[in-house]
């Protein structure tokens, strides 16, 4: 069964620090790896995404690092702020042809950024 394993389950970081969340996958057919941020009572919102032909992608304070050989990818949040406190999900998707694709999510990381 396709799986995406995410760690840690929860994370507490001081304001201004770096938050790091890790994910590992098994299915080598995965070829699109997004990260989502979810606030209570809201749907997940796309933060940043990467494809396996790139080892790193940066958008503002958010960076994805991707290690294809290890089948691992991680999210780094630089200069973490209290407003970043949310649950973060990694996900992976594979295109199965004929318009068929689906996201497989990790179990989430609850990030708390303390002042």
């Amino acid at each position: 069964q396709q799986q995406v394993k995410q760690s840690p389950q929860s994370l507490i970081v001081q304001k201004g620090g770096i938050s790091i969340i890790n994910c590992a996958y098994e299915n080598t057919a995965f070829d699109y790896f997004p990260w989502y941020q979810q606030f209570p009572g809201k749907g997940p919102a796309l933060l940043i995404a990467i494809r396996p032909d790139v080892s790193e992608k940066k958008e503002g304070r958010f960076t994805i690092s991707f290690n294809k050989s290890a089948k691992q990818f991680s999210l780094h949040i630089m200069d973490s702020q209290p407003g970043d406190s949310a649950t973060y999900f990694c996900a992976a998707s594979a295109y199965s042809g004929a318009g068929s694709y689906q996201l497989t999510f990790g179990k989430g990381t609850k990030l708390s950024v303390i002042p």
């Binding site: 699109y32 989502y36 009572g41 919102a45 998707s93 497989t104």
Partner: protein, 112 residues
């Protein structure tokens, strides 16, 4: 631009009843997917529709069904509700497989 809209936002149903959830995708998005998110877990894939045809189905019982209409809106139906069906049901629309998925705020279903 309007995002993905879902209705209703909250719903309380009794065991054994049936429920219909609705989703309107972002204009121009032809793919609509449904996910179930149980409290404290990541979303789980239920269905994907593209160009009004079912393109994928997750590991959910036949009590779950869905359809997509000519205007690309979609409905998710759940029959014979169980307590375990209580969850946040999310709809997502997309331009394509690697264009990212935009999620709605979901429908919170409580089965009592």
């Amino acid at each position: 631009d309007a995002g993905v809209t879902q209705s209703p936002t909250h719903l309380i149903k009794t065991r054994g009843q049936q429920v219909t959830l609705r989703c309107s995708p972002i204009s121009g998005h032809k793919s609509v997917s449904w996910y179930q998110q149980v409290l404290g877990q990541g979303p789980q894939f239920i269905f994907q529709y593209y160009e009004k045809e079912e393109r994928g189905r997750g590991n959910f019982p036949d009590r779950f069904s869905a359809r997509q209409f000519p205007n690309y809106s979609s409905e998710l139906n759940v029959n014979a509700l169980l307590l375990g069906d209580s969850a946040l049901y999310l709809c997502a629309s997309s331009l394509g497989w690697d264009h990212g998925y935009t999620f709605g705020s979901g429908t919170r279903l409580t089965v009592v």
